[in-house]
Protein backbone atom coordinates (compact mmCIF):
# COMPACT_ATOMS: atom_id res chain seq x y z
CA UNK A 1 0.00 0.00 0.00
CA UNK A 2 1.25 3.39 -0.90
CA UNK A 3 -0.86 5.45 1.42
CA UNK A 4 1.15 7.88 3.52
CA UNK A 5 -1.67 7.87 6.05
CA UNK A 6 -1.34 4.18 6.82
CA UNK A 7 0.86 4.60 9.87
CA UNK A 8 1.30 7.83 11.82
CA UNK A 9 4.70 8.63 13.26
CA UNK A 10 3.55 9.46 16.76
CA UNK A 11 0.15 7.86 17.29
CA UNK A 12 0.37 8.34 21.06
CA UNK A 13 -0.15 12.09 20.60
CA UNK A 14 -3.24 11.74 18.41
CA UNK A 15 -6.92 11.48 19.10
CA UNK A 16 -8.65 8.32 17.90
CA UNK A 17 -11.93 8.45 16.00
CA UNK A 18 -13.71 5.19 15.25
CA UNK A 19 -16.43 4.68 12.65
CA UNK A 20 -18.22 1.47 13.40
CA UNK A 21 -20.27 -0.15 12.08
CA UNK A 22 -19.68 0.78 8.47
CA UNK A 23 -22.91 1.15 6.58
CA UNK A 24 -23.55 0.81 2.85
CA UNK A 25 -21.41 -2.32 2.68
CA UNK A 26 -22.28 -5.97 2.53
CA UNK A 27 -20.30 -7.15 5.49
CA UNK A 28 -18.53 -5.72 8.47
CA UNK A 29 -15.73 -3.23 8.75
CA UNK A 30 -14.37 -0.49 10.93
CA UNK A 31 -12.50 2.70 10.18
CA UNK A 32 -10.13 4.24 12.68
CA UNK A 33 -8.73 7.72 12.24
CA UNK A 34 -6.00 9.38 14.25
CA UNK A 35 -6.51 13.14 14.34
CA UNK A 36 -4.10 15.84 15.51
CA UNK A 37 -4.91 18.99 17.45
CA UNK A 38 -5.76 20.85 14.24
CA UNK A 39 -8.27 18.16 13.32
CA UNK A 40 -6.03 16.92 10.53
CA UNK A 41 -6.06 13.20 9.87
CA UNK A 42 -2.64 11.63 10.41
CA UNK A 43 -3.59 8.00 10.15
CA UNK A 44 -6.52 6.26 8.51
CA UNK A 45 -7.15 2.54 8.51
CA UNK A 46 -9.93 0.36 7.21
CA UNK A 47 -10.13 -2.74 9.34
CA UNK A 48 -11.81 -5.92 8.22
CA UNK A 49 -12.71 -7.27 11.60
CA UNK A 50 -13.70 -10.85 10.90
CA UNK A 51 -11.17 -13.63 11.19
CA UNK A 52 -12.12 -16.54 8.95
CA UNK A 53 -9.38 -19.17 8.93
CA UNK A 54 -10.89 -21.33 6.19
CA UNK A 55 -7.51 -21.99 4.58
CA UNK A 56 -6.53 -23.83 7.73
CA UNK A 57 -9.59 -25.63 8.85
CA UNK A 58 -10.46 -27.16 5.48
CA UNK A 59 -7.23 -29.13 5.75
CA UNK A 60 -7.92 -32.81 6.33
CA UNK A 61 -11.53 -32.59 5.18
CA UNK A 62 -12.85 -34.63 2.22
CA UNK A 63 -12.30 -32.58 -0.93
CA UNK A 64 -15.94 -32.83 -2.01
CA UNK A 65 -16.97 -30.90 1.10
CA UNK A 66 -15.02 -27.83 0.04
CA UNK A 67 -17.66 -26.10 -2.11
CA UNK A 68 -20.13 -26.47 0.75
CA UNK A 69 -17.66 -25.48 3.46
CA UNK A 70 -16.01 -22.42 1.97
CA UNK A 71 -19.23 -20.77 0.83
CA UNK A 72 -19.79 -19.99 4.52
CA UNK A 73 -17.23 -17.23 4.08
CA UNK A 74 -20.15 -15.00 3.20
CA UNK A 75 -23.92 -14.91 3.30
CA UNK A 76 -24.23 -12.47 0.41
CA UNK A 77 -21.78 -13.98 -2.04
CA UNK A 78 -21.66 -17.66 -1.06
CA UNK A 79 -22.08 -18.68 -4.69
CA UNK A 80 -18.74 -17.10 -5.64
CA UNK A 81 -16.90 -19.12 -3.01
CA UNK A 82 -19.00 -22.19 -3.75
CA UNK A 83 -18.06 -22.02 -7.43
CA UNK A 84 -14.42 -21.17 -6.79
CA UNK A 85 -14.11 -24.30 -4.66
CA UNK A 86 -16.06 -26.35 -7.19
CA UNK A 87 -13.69 -25.20 -9.95
CA UNK A 88 -10.70 -26.10 -7.79
CA UNK A 89 -12.08 -29.56 -7.09
CA UNK A 90 -12.93 -30.02 -10.79
CA UNK A 91 -9.19 -29.78 -11.39
CA UNK A 92 -8.50 -32.11 -8.51
CA UNK A 93 -10.51 -34.92 -10.06
CA UNK A 94 -9.26 -34.18 -13.57
CA UNK A 95 -12.37 -32.63 -15.07
CA UNK A 96 -11.37 -29.87 -17.47
CA UNK A 97 -14.68 -29.56 -19.26
CA UNK A 98 -18.14 -29.61 -17.72
CA UNK A 99 -21.23 -30.79 -19.50
CA UNK A 100 -23.04 -27.87 -21.18
CA UNK A 101 -25.87 -28.23 -18.67
CA UNK A 102 -23.56 -28.09 -15.66
CA UNK A 103 -21.81 -25.02 -17.09
CA UNK A 104 -25.12 -23.27 -17.64
CA UNK A 105 -26.49 -24.15 -14.20
CA UNK A 106 -23.35 -22.87 -12.49
CA UNK A 107 -23.45 -19.66 -14.48
CA UNK A 108 -27.13 -19.17 -13.78
CA UNK A 109 -26.46 -19.65 -10.08
CA UNK A 110 -23.73 -17.03 -10.25
CA UNK A 111 -25.85 -14.56 -12.18
CA UNK A 112 -28.62 -15.01 -9.65
CA UNK A 113 -26.22 -14.04 -6.94
CA UNK A 114 -24.89 -11.09 -8.93
CA UNK A 115 -28.42 -9.85 -9.44
CA UNK A 116 -29.44 -10.10 -5.80
CA UNK A 117 -26.19 -8.55 -4.61
CA UNK A 118 -26.40 -5.64 -7.03
CA UNK A 119 -30.04 -5.09 -6.11
CA UNK A 120 -29.10 -5.07 -2.44
CA UNK A 121 -26.26 -2.68 -3.06
CA UNK A 122 -28.05 -0.29 -5.33
CA UNK A 123 -31.53 -0.21 -3.81
CA UNK A 124 -31.15 -1.11 -0.16
CA UNK A 125 -27.77 0.42 0.59
CA UNK A 126 -27.09 3.21 -1.90
CA UNK A 127 -30.42 4.52 -3.09
CA UNK A 128 -31.14 6.44 0.15
CA UNK A 129 -27.97 8.52 -0.39
CA UNK A 130 -28.61 8.87 -4.11
CA UNK A 131 -32.27 9.83 -3.82
CA UNK A 132 -32.15 12.03 -0.74
CA UNK A 133 -28.63 13.42 -0.85
CA UNK A 134 -25.95 13.22 1.80
CA UNK A 135 -27.36 16.05 3.88
CA UNK A 136 -30.66 14.32 4.43
CA UNK A 137 -31.56 13.42 7.98
CA UNK A 138 -29.92 10.18 9.07
CA UNK A 139 -33.16 8.77 10.46
CA UNK A 140 -34.73 9.20 7.03
CA UNK A 141 -31.77 8.39 4.78
CA UNK A 142 -32.22 4.63 4.75
CA UNK A 143 -34.27 1.95 3.02
CA UNK A 144 -37.26 2.66 5.26
CA UNK A 145 -37.22 6.25 4.03
CA UNK A 146 -37.10 4.98 0.46
CA UNK A 147 -40.10 2.74 1.13
CA UNK A 148 -42.01 5.74 2.46
CA UNK A 149 -41.09 8.26 -0.23
CA UNK A 150 -40.47 6.05 -3.26
CA UNK A 151 -42.44 2.86 -2.66
CA UNK A 152 -42.22 1.77 -6.30
CA UNK A 153 -38.41 1.99 -6.35
CA UNK A 154 -38.17 0.18 -3.01
CA UNK A 155 -40.50 -2.53 -4.24
CA UNK A 156 -38.42 -3.09 -7.35
CA UNK A 157 -35.29 -3.44 -5.24
CA UNK A 158 -36.86 -5.95 -2.91
CA UNK A 159 -38.33 -8.02 -5.74
CA UNK A 160 -35.17 -7.93 -7.87
CA UNK A 161 -33.26 -9.25 -4.88
CA UNK A 162 -35.89 -11.88 -4.26
CA UNK A 163 -35.69 -12.99 -7.87
CA UNK A 164 -31.92 -13.40 -7.65
CA UNK A 165 -32.32 -15.43 -4.46
CA UNK A 166 -34.90 -17.61 -6.18
CA UNK A 167 -32.47 -18.28 -9.04
CA UNK A 168 -29.95 -19.43 -6.43
CA UNK A 169 -32.54 -21.59 -4.69
CA UNK A 170 -33.62 -23.30 -7.88
CA UNK A 171 -30.03 -24.04 -8.92
CA UNK A 172 -28.52 -24.92 -5.52
CA UNK A 173 -31.42 -26.03 -3.32
CA UNK A 174 -31.39 -23.07 -0.93
CA UNK A 175 -31.48 -19.29 -1.18
CA UNK A 176 -28.27 -19.12 0.82
CA UNK A 177 -25.62 -21.85 1.18
CA UNK A 178 -26.99 -24.59 -1.05
CA UNK A 179 -25.11 -27.53 -2.57
CA UNK A 180 -25.58 -27.15 -6.31
CA UNK A 181 -22.02 -27.39 -7.60
CA UNK A 182 -20.11 -30.57 -6.88
CA UNK A 183 -16.69 -31.64 -8.14
CA UNK A 184 -17.10 -32.22 -11.87
CA UNK A 185 -20.50 -30.61 -12.31
CA UNK A 186 -23.77 -29.95 -10.51
CA UNK A 187 -26.18 -32.20 -8.63
CA UNK A 188 -29.36 -31.00 -10.23
CA UNK A 189 -30.70 -29.60 -13.46
CA UNK A 190 -33.65 -27.27 -13.82
CA UNK A 191 -36.99 -28.99 -14.09
CA UNK A 192 -39.40 -27.60 -16.66
CA UNK A 193 -41.50 -26.35 -13.79
CA UNK A 194 -38.53 -24.45 -12.32
CA UNK A 195 -37.60 -23.06 -15.72
CA UNK A 196 -41.12 -21.76 -16.25
CA UNK A 197 -41.20 -20.35 -12.73
CA UNK A 198 -38.10 -18.26 -13.45
CA UNK A 199 -39.09 -17.37 -17.02
CA UNK A 200 -42.40 -15.99 -15.86
CA UNK A 201 -40.91 -12.83 -14.32
CA UNK A 202 -37.71 -12.37 -16.29
CA UNK A 203 -38.99 -9.59 -18.58
CA UNK A 204 -40.12 -7.59 -15.56
CA UNK A 205 -36.74 -8.09 -13.87
CA UNK A 206 -34.82 -6.92 -16.94
CA UNK A 207 -37.09 -3.90 -17.23
CA UNK A 208 -36.55 -2.97 -13.59
CA UNK A 209 -32.80 -3.55 -13.92
CA UNK A 210 -32.65 -1.24 -16.91
CA UNK A 211 -34.80 1.23 -15.03
CA UNK A 212 -32.24 1.24 -12.24
CA UNK A 213 -29.52 2.06 -14.77
CA UNK A 214 -31.60 4.97 -16.09
CA UNK A 215 -32.24 6.16 -12.54
CA UNK A 216 -28.53 6.10 -11.82
CA UNK A 217 -27.85 7.98 -15.03
CA UNK A 218 -30.39 10.68 -14.20
CA UNK A 219 -28.97 11.16 -10.73
CA UNK A 220 -25.44 11.22 -12.08
CA UNK A 221 -26.25 13.83 -14.69
CA UNK A 222 -27.77 16.19 -12.15
CA UNK A 223 -24.21 17.12 -11.21
CA UNK A 224 -21.82 15.46 -13.64
CA UNK A 225 -18.72 17.51 -12.79
CA UNK A 226 -19.01 16.59 -9.15
CA UNK A 227 -19.86 12.97 -9.81
CA UNK A 228 -17.00 12.46 -12.24
CA UNK A 229 -14.59 13.47 -9.50
CA UNK A 230 -16.41 11.86 -6.63
CA UNK A 231 -14.47 9.11 -4.89
CA UNK A 232 -12.23 8.81 -7.91
CA UNK A 233 -8.94 7.08 -7.16
CA UNK A 234 -6.43 6.09 -9.81
CA UNK A 235 -5.74 2.41 -9.55
CA UNK A 236 -4.65 -0.65 -11.41
CA UNK A 237 -7.53 -2.86 -12.37
CA UNK A 238 -7.90 -6.61 -12.53
CA UNK A 239 -10.71 -8.60 -14.05
CA UNK A 240 -11.78 -11.88 -15.59
CA UNK A 241 -12.24 -11.88 -19.36
CA UNK A 242 -13.46 -14.16 -22.10
CA UNK A 243 -11.24 -15.28 -24.97
CA UNK A 244 -12.46 -12.25 -27.00
CA UNK A 245 -11.63 -9.89 -24.15
CA UNK A 246 -15.20 -9.28 -23.04
CA UNK A 247 -16.20 -9.08 -19.41
CA UNK A 248 -16.65 -12.42 -17.67
CA UNK A 249 -17.81 -13.51 -14.24
CA UNK A 250 -17.35 -17.27 -14.11
CA UNK A 251 -14.55 -18.62 -16.23
CA UNK A 252 -11.84 -16.93 -18.23
CA UNK A 253 -8.41 -15.34 -18.29
CA UNK A 254 -7.02 -12.65 -16.02
CA UNK A 255 -6.40 -9.17 -17.36
CA UNK A 256 -4.76 -6.30 -15.52
CA UNK A 257 -4.39 -2.71 -16.64
CA UNK A 258 -2.68 0.28 -15.14
CA UNK A 259 -4.52 3.50 -14.23
CA UNK A 260 -4.10 4.79 -17.80
CA UNK A 261 -5.65 1.65 -19.26
CA UNK A 262 -2.36 0.26 -20.51
CA UNK A 263 -2.11 -3.52 -20.23
CA UNK A 264 -0.05 -5.04 -17.42
CA UNK A 265 -0.91 -8.60 -18.33
CA UNK A 266 -3.63 -10.26 -20.35
CA UNK A 267 -5.29 -13.67 -20.75
CA UNK A 268 -3.37 -15.20 -17.88
CA UNK A 269 -4.71 -18.62 -16.96
CA UNK A 270 -6.30 -18.08 -13.56
CA UNK A 271 -4.71 -21.29 -12.34
CA UNK A 272 -1.37 -19.52 -12.67
CA UNK A 273 -2.49 -16.56 -10.59
CA UNK A 274 0.36 -17.04 -8.15
CA UNK A 275 2.76 -16.11 -10.95
CA UNK A 276 1.30 -12.63 -11.22
CA UNK A 277 -0.33 -11.92 -7.86
CA UNK A 278 1.23 -11.78 -4.41
CA UNK A 279 -0.39 -11.20 -1.05
CA UNK A 280 0.54 -9.08 1.92
CA UNK A 281 -0.89 -9.18 5.39
CA UNK A 282 -1.05 -6.33 7.90
CA UNK A 283 -1.27 -6.51 11.65
CA UNK A 284 -4.33 -4.30 11.85
CA UNK A 285 -6.75 -6.02 9.48
CA UNK A 286 -7.81 -9.56 8.63
CA UNK A 287 -8.12 -8.42 5.03
CA UNK A 288 -5.39 -9.69 2.75
CA UNK A 289 -3.58 -7.16 0.60
CA UNK A 290 -2.98 -8.68 -2.81
CA UNK A 291 -0.84 -6.88 -5.35
CA UNK A 292 0.53 -7.36 -8.84
CA UNK A 293 3.84 -9.09 -8.33
CA UNK A 294 5.83 -7.22 -10.99
CA UNK A 295 4.86 -3.82 -9.63
CA UNK A 296 5.32 -4.63 -5.96
CA UNK A 297 3.28 -4.04 -2.81
CA UNK A 298 3.54 -0.25 -2.79
CA UNK A 299 2.03 0.48 -6.20
CA UNK A 300 0.80 -2.94 -7.31
CA UNK A 301 -2.55 -2.96 -5.54
CA UNK A 302 -5.57 -3.02 -7.77
CA UNK A 303 -9.31 -2.83 -7.97
CA UNK A 304 -11.11 -5.94 -8.97
CA UNK A 305 -13.98 -6.12 -11.33
CA UNK A 306 -16.13 -8.60 -9.52
CA UNK A 307 -19.74 -9.50 -9.17
CA UNK A 308 -19.99 -8.30 -5.60
CA UNK A 309 -19.39 -5.42 -3.30
CA UNK A 310 -17.58 -6.22 -0.14
CA UNK A 311 -16.14 -3.61 2.20
CA UNK A 312 -13.28 -1.90 0.47
CA UNK A 313 -14.00 -3.67 -2.76
CA UNK A 314 -13.77 -1.25 -5.63
CA UNK A 315 -14.30 -2.81 -8.97
CA UNK A 316 -13.16 -1.47 -12.28
CA UNK A 317 -11.42 -3.58 -14.89
CA UNK A 318 -11.66 -2.08 -18.27
CA UNK A 319 -13.63 -4.61 -20.21
CA UNK A 320 -17.05 -3.71 -18.92
CA UNK A 321 -18.25 -0.81 -20.98
CA UNK A 322 -21.54 -1.43 -22.67
CA UNK A 323 -22.22 -4.65 -20.85
CA UNK A 324 -25.85 -3.85 -21.43
CA UNK A 325 -28.55 -6.09 -20.14
CA UNK A 326 -28.42 -8.72 -17.54
CA UNK A 327 -27.30 -9.13 -13.99
CA UNK A 328 -24.21 -6.95 -14.37
CA UNK A 329 -26.22 -4.06 -15.67
CA UNK A 330 -26.18 -1.81 -12.64
CA UNK A 331 -22.48 -2.21 -11.98
CA UNK A 332 -21.85 -1.92 -15.69
CA UNK A 333 -23.75 1.30 -16.04
CA UNK A 334 -22.02 2.79 -13.09
CA UNK A 335 -18.70 2.08 -14.66
CA UNK A 336 -19.74 3.02 -18.15
CA UNK A 337 -20.75 6.41 -16.88
CA UNK A 338 -17.41 6.82 -15.24
CA UNK A 339 -19.07 6.91 -11.87
CA UNK A 340 -17.52 5.43 -8.80
CA UNK A 341 -18.57 1.82 -8.66
CA UNK A 342 -19.16 2.18 -4.96
CA UNK A 343 -21.97 4.57 -4.25
CA UNK A 344 -20.93 7.83 -2.67
CA UNK A 345 -19.80 7.22 0.87
CA UNK A 346 -17.94 10.41 1.54
CA UNK A 347 -17.87 13.90 0.19
CA UNK A 348 -14.78 15.48 -1.22
CA UNK A 349 -13.41 17.60 1.55
CA UNK A 350 -14.91 15.38 4.18
CA UNK A 351 -11.95 14.46 6.37
CA UNK A 352 -13.00 10.84 6.20
CA UNK A 353 -12.26 10.87 2.50
CA UNK A 354 -8.63 10.40 3.42
CA UNK A 355 -9.48 6.91 4.56
CA UNK A 356 -8.46 5.49 1.26
CA UNK A 357 -9.77 2.02 0.75
CA UNK A 358 -7.37 -0.78 0.15
CA UNK A 359 -7.59 -3.42 -2.50
CA UNK A 360 -10.31 -5.97 -2.61
CA UNK A 361 -10.95 -8.40 0.12
CA UNK A 362 -12.24 -11.83 -0.46
Amino acid sequence: MSNPLETARHPETLKRVVIEPLTRVEGHGKVTLLVDEDQRIRQARLHIVEFRGFEKFIQGRPYWELPVLVQRLCGICPVSHHLAAAKATDQLIGVDELTPTADKIRRLMHYGQTLQSHALHFFHLSSPDLLFGFDDEVAHRNIVGVIQDHPEIAKQGVLLRKYGQEVIRVTSGKRVHGTGAIPGGVNKALSEEERDYLSKDIDQMVEWGEGAVQLMKRIFLTNPDYHYRFGSVDANTLGLIRPDGAFELYHGGLRARDPDGEPIFDQIDYRDYEQVIREQVKSWSYMKFPFIADIGPEFGWYRQLRPLRHPARRAGASGLRGSGRGPAATGGARHALGAPDRAPLLRRGDPRAAARPGPARD
Partner: protein, 243 residues
Protein backbone atom coordinates in the same frame (compact mmCIF):
# COMPACT_ATOMS: atom_id res chain seq x y z
CA UNK B 1 -60.46 -67.04 16.38
CA UNK B 2 -59.92 -67.06 20.09
CA UNK B 3 -56.65 -65.56 21.15
CA UNK B 4 -55.37 -66.51 24.54
CA UNK B 5 -54.02 -63.77 26.79
CA UNK B 6 -50.74 -65.58 27.13
CA UNK B 7 -49.97 -65.33 23.40
CA UNK B 8 -51.24 -61.85 22.74
CA UNK B 9 -51.86 -58.67 24.63
CA UNK B 10 -52.03 -54.94 24.24
CA UNK B 11 -50.91 -51.75 25.93
CA UNK B 12 -51.70 -48.06 25.67
CA UNK B 13 -49.22 -45.93 23.74
CA UNK B 14 -49.97 -42.20 23.87
CA UNK B 15 -53.64 -43.12 24.09
CA UNK B 16 -53.56 -45.68 21.29
CA UNK B 17 -54.06 -49.41 21.75
CA UNK B 18 -50.96 -51.30 20.56
CA UNK B 19 -51.06 -55.12 20.28
CA UNK B 20 -48.00 -57.20 21.12
CA UNK B 21 -46.87 -60.80 21.38
CA UNK B 22 -44.84 -62.01 24.33
CA UNK B 23 -41.14 -61.37 23.88
CA UNK B 24 -41.65 -58.16 21.95
CA UNK B 25 -40.20 -54.98 23.34
CA UNK B 26 -42.20 -51.78 23.49
CA UNK B 27 -40.20 -50.62 20.45
CA UNK B 28 -40.91 -53.81 18.48
CA UNK B 29 -44.63 -53.58 19.08
CA UNK B 30 -44.88 -49.85 18.42
CA UNK B 31 -42.90 -50.02 15.15
CA UNK B 32 -44.92 -53.08 14.06
CA UNK B 33 -48.10 -51.10 14.64
CA UNK B 34 -46.81 -48.34 12.34
CA UNK B 35 -46.17 -45.88 15.16
CA UNK B 36 -42.84 -44.24 15.95
CA UNK B 37 -40.49 -43.90 18.91
CA UNK B 38 -37.31 -41.94 18.16
CA UNK B 39 -34.12 -43.99 18.32
CA UNK B 40 -30.52 -43.95 17.17
CA UNK B 41 -28.69 -47.08 18.37
CA UNK B 42 -31.66 -49.29 17.59
CA UNK B 43 -32.07 -51.09 14.31
CA UNK B 44 -34.64 -53.91 14.12
CA UNK B 45 -32.11 -56.08 12.28
CA UNK B 46 -29.83 -56.22 15.31
CA UNK B 47 -30.14 -57.17 18.95
CA UNK B 48 -31.30 -54.21 21.06
CA UNK B 49 -28.50 -52.21 22.56
CA UNK B 50 -30.21 -49.73 24.86
CA UNK B 51 -27.25 -47.35 24.90
CA UNK B 52 -28.29 -44.10 23.29
CA UNK B 53 -31.37 -43.68 25.51
CA UNK B 54 -33.13 -41.55 22.89
CA UNK B 55 -36.03 -44.04 22.86
CA UNK B 56 -36.81 -43.26 26.48
CA UNK B 57 -40.52 -43.57 27.31
CA UNK B 58 -42.48 -43.18 30.53
CA UNK B 59 -44.05 -46.33 32.01
CA UNK B 60 -45.69 -46.31 35.43
CA UNK B 61 -43.80 -43.23 36.58
CA UNK B 62 -40.42 -44.59 35.47
CA UNK B 63 -38.36 -43.85 32.40
CA UNK B 64 -37.25 -46.89 30.42
CA UNK B 65 -35.64 -47.45 27.04
CA UNK B 66 -38.33 -48.71 24.70
CA UNK B 67 -35.88 -50.81 22.68
CA UNK B 68 -35.04 -53.04 25.67
CA UNK B 69 -38.15 -52.88 27.88
CA UNK B 70 -40.52 -55.80 27.26
CA UNK B 71 -44.08 -54.94 26.40
CA UNK B 72 -46.57 -55.95 29.09
CA UNK B 73 -50.28 -56.29 29.21
CA UNK B 74 -52.13 -53.13 30.15
CA UNK B 75 -49.07 -50.90 30.54
CA UNK B 76 -49.50 -47.20 29.81
CA UNK B 77 -46.62 -45.82 27.73
CA UNK B 78 -45.95 -42.11 27.46
CA UNK B 79 -43.84 -41.16 24.43
CA UNK B 80 -45.02 -37.65 23.72
CA UNK B 81 -45.24 -35.68 26.98
CA UNK B 82 -43.03 -32.64 27.35
CA UNK B 83 -41.16 -34.42 30.14
CA UNK B 84 -40.21 -37.33 27.87
CA UNK B 85 -39.43 -35.13 24.86
CA UNK B 86 -37.36 -32.88 27.14
CA UNK B 87 -35.31 -35.84 28.34
CA UNK B 88 -34.68 -36.88 24.75
CA UNK B 89 -33.70 -33.34 23.78
CA UNK B 90 -31.17 -33.17 26.60
CA UNK B 91 -29.64 -36.50 25.48
CA UNK B 92 -29.48 -35.28 21.88
CA UNK B 93 -27.96 -31.97 22.90
CA UNK B 94 -25.22 -33.84 24.73
CA UNK B 95 -24.60 -35.99 21.66
CA UNK B 96 -24.34 -32.88 19.51
CA UNK B 97 -21.78 -31.13 21.69
CA UNK B 98 -19.74 -34.25 22.36
CA UNK B 99 -18.75 -34.63 18.70
CA UNK B 100 -18.44 -32.18 15.83
CA UNK B 101 -21.82 -32.23 14.16
CA UNK B 102 -21.72 -29.39 11.65
CA UNK B 103 -24.96 -30.01 9.78
CA UNK B 104 -24.60 -27.08 7.34
CA UNK B 105 -21.53 -28.63 5.72
CA UNK B 106 -22.26 -32.32 6.31
CA UNK B 107 -23.14 -34.36 3.24
CA UNK B 108 -25.43 -36.51 5.37
CA UNK B 109 -27.61 -33.51 6.23
CA UNK B 110 -31.19 -34.29 5.27
CA UNK B 111 -30.60 -38.03 5.50
CA UNK B 112 -29.09 -38.08 9.00
CA UNK B 113 -30.96 -39.77 11.78
CA UNK B 114 -29.37 -37.66 14.51
CA UNK B 115 -30.51 -34.49 12.75
CA UNK B 116 -33.96 -35.90 12.00
CA UNK B 117 -34.53 -37.09 15.57
CA UNK B 118 -33.39 -33.70 16.85
CA UNK B 119 -36.03 -32.08 14.66
CA UNK B 120 -38.59 -34.62 15.88
CA UNK B 121 -37.99 -33.72 19.52
CA UNK B 122 -38.03 -29.99 18.80
CA UNK B 123 -34.35 -29.41 19.55
CA UNK B 124 -33.48 -25.93 18.29
CA UNK B 125 -30.00 -25.37 19.76
CA UNK B 126 -27.21 -27.44 21.33
CA UNK B 127 -27.66 -25.68 24.70
CA UNK B 128 -24.50 -27.18 26.23
CA UNK B 129 -20.94 -26.03 25.70
CA UNK B 130 -19.33 -27.67 22.68
CA UNK B 131 -16.42 -29.99 23.40
CA UNK B 132 -14.95 -29.39 19.93
CA UNK B 133 -12.88 -32.59 20.07
CA UNK B 134 -10.05 -32.89 17.57
CA UNK B 135 -10.62 -36.02 15.52
CA UNK B 136 -9.17 -37.05 12.19
CA UNK B 137 -10.91 -38.22 9.05
CA UNK B 138 -9.83 -41.69 7.89
CA UNK B 139 -9.91 -41.65 4.08
CA UNK B 140 -7.56 -44.60 3.61
CA UNK B 141 -10.20 -46.95 2.19
CA UNK B 142 -10.82 -46.72 -1.57
CA UNK B 143 -14.62 -46.78 -1.25
CA UNK B 144 -15.50 -45.34 2.16
CA UNK B 145 -14.39 -42.65 4.57
CA UNK B 146 -14.83 -42.56 8.31
CA UNK B 147 -15.31 -39.16 9.87
CA UNK B 148 -14.85 -39.82 13.58
CA UNK B 149 -16.10 -36.30 14.31
CA UNK B 150 -19.63 -37.54 13.71
CA UNK B 151 -19.54 -40.91 15.46
CA UNK B 152 -22.15 -41.19 18.21
CA UNK B 153 -20.96 -44.60 19.50
CA UNK B 154 -24.22 -46.35 18.63
CA UNK B 155 -22.21 -49.50 17.84
CA UNK B 156 -24.38 -50.39 14.86
CA UNK B 157 -21.27 -50.83 12.70
CA UNK B 158 -19.70 -52.88 15.50
CA UNK B 159 -22.73 -55.15 15.67
CA UNK B 160 -23.15 -55.37 11.89
CA UNK B 161 -19.52 -56.28 11.29
CA UNK B 162 -19.48 -58.82 14.12
CA UNK B 163 -22.95 -60.35 13.87
CA UNK B 164 -23.67 -60.04 10.16
CA UNK B 165 -20.38 -59.76 8.27
CA UNK B 166 -18.47 -62.04 10.67
CA UNK B 167 -15.47 -59.69 10.54
CA UNK B 168 -15.26 -57.67 13.74
CA UNK B 169 -13.76 -54.70 11.88
CA UNK B 170 -15.05 -52.22 14.46
CA UNK B 171 -14.94 -51.99 18.23
CA UNK B 172 -15.30 -49.43 20.98
CA UNK B 173 -12.22 -48.69 23.02
CA UNK B 174 -11.73 -46.55 26.11
CA UNK B 175 -14.20 -45.77 28.86
CA UNK B 176 -16.57 -42.93 29.62
CA UNK B 177 -15.59 -39.73 27.86
CA UNK B 178 -12.60 -41.50 26.31
CA UNK B 179 -14.80 -44.05 24.52
CA UNK B 180 -14.10 -44.08 20.82
CA UNK B 181 -14.53 -46.19 17.73
CA UNK B 182 -11.50 -48.25 16.75
CA UNK B 183 -10.73 -50.32 13.67
CA UNK B 184 -9.19 -53.76 13.69
CA UNK B 185 -6.25 -53.46 11.32
CA UNK B 186 -2.46 -53.40 11.73
CA UNK B 187 -2.41 -49.61 11.35
CA UNK B 188 -5.81 -48.87 12.86
CA UNK B 189 -6.83 -47.47 9.49
CA UNK B 190 -9.88 -48.58 7.56
CA UNK B 191 -7.95 -49.09 4.34
CA UNK B 192 -5.80 -51.74 6.01
CA UNK B 193 -8.78 -53.63 7.45
CA UNK B 194 -10.96 -56.29 5.84
CA UNK B 195 -13.83 -53.78 5.53
CA UNK B 196 -15.60 -53.88 2.15
CA UNK B 197 -18.23 -51.67 0.52
CA UNK B 198 -20.55 -54.65 0.38
CA UNK B 199 -20.39 -55.20 4.15
CA UNK B 200 -23.55 -54.72 6.16
CA UNK B 201 -21.45 -52.49 8.40
CA UNK B 202 -21.05 -50.05 5.52
CA UNK B 203 -24.77 -49.39 5.40
CA UNK B 204 -26.03 -49.06 8.96
CA UNK B 205 -24.48 -45.80 10.18
CA UNK B 206 -27.33 -43.51 11.29
CA UNK B 207 -25.14 -40.40 11.02
CA UNK B 208 -22.44 -39.12 8.66
CA UNK B 209 -19.58 -41.08 10.21
CA UNK B 210 -19.26 -43.93 7.68
CA UNK B 211 -19.80 -42.53 4.21
CA UNK B 212 -19.32 -43.83 0.68
CA UNK B 213 -16.80 -42.00 -1.47
CA UNK B 214 -17.59 -40.66 -4.96
CA UNK B 215 -21.18 -39.75 -4.08
CA UNK B 216 -20.92 -36.69 -1.85
CA UNK B 217 -23.86 -34.29 -2.18
CA UNK B 218 -25.26 -36.40 -4.99
CA UNK B 219 -28.85 -35.85 -3.84
CA UNK B 220 -29.90 -32.20 -4.07
CA UNK B 221 -31.25 -30.34 -1.05
CA UNK B 222 -34.99 -30.76 -0.95
CA UNK B 223 -34.92 -34.29 -2.32
CA UNK B 224 -33.19 -36.01 0.59
CA UNK B 225 -34.91 -38.61 2.73
CA UNK B 226 -35.98 -36.40 5.61
CA UNK B 227 -36.58 -33.40 3.33
CA UNK B 228 -39.44 -35.39 1.83
CA UNK B 229 -41.02 -36.87 4.96
CA UNK B 230 -40.32 -36.59 8.67
CA UNK B 231 -38.52 -39.48 10.34
CA UNK B 232 -41.67 -40.41 12.24
CA UNK B 233 -43.17 -41.46 8.90
CA UNK B 234 -40.20 -42.91 6.98
CA UNK B 235 -38.12 -44.33 9.84
CA UNK B 236 -34.45 -45.28 9.78
CA UNK B 237 -32.10 -44.10 7.08
CA UNK B 238 -30.63 -47.62 7.01
CA UNK B 239 -33.96 -48.87 5.65
CA UNK B 240 -33.60 -46.57 2.62
CA UNK B 241 -31.34 -46.27 -0.35
CA UNK B 242 -29.49 -43.30 1.12
CA UNK B 243 -27.88 -45.37 3.88
Amino acid sequence: MKVSLSSRGSFRFDGKEIPFTPGQTIMDAVLAAGEYIPHLCHNPEFAPHGSCRVCVVGVGGRQVSACTAPAAEGMVVDSSSEEIQGTRRAILQMLFVEGNHICPACEKSGACQLQAVAYYTGMLAPHFTHFFPRREVDASHPDFIIDFNRCILCELCVRASRDWDGKRVFGISGRGLASHLVIDSPTGRLGDSSFAATDKAAHVCPVGAILPKHRGYEVPIGERLYDREPISLVGDVAAHEEA
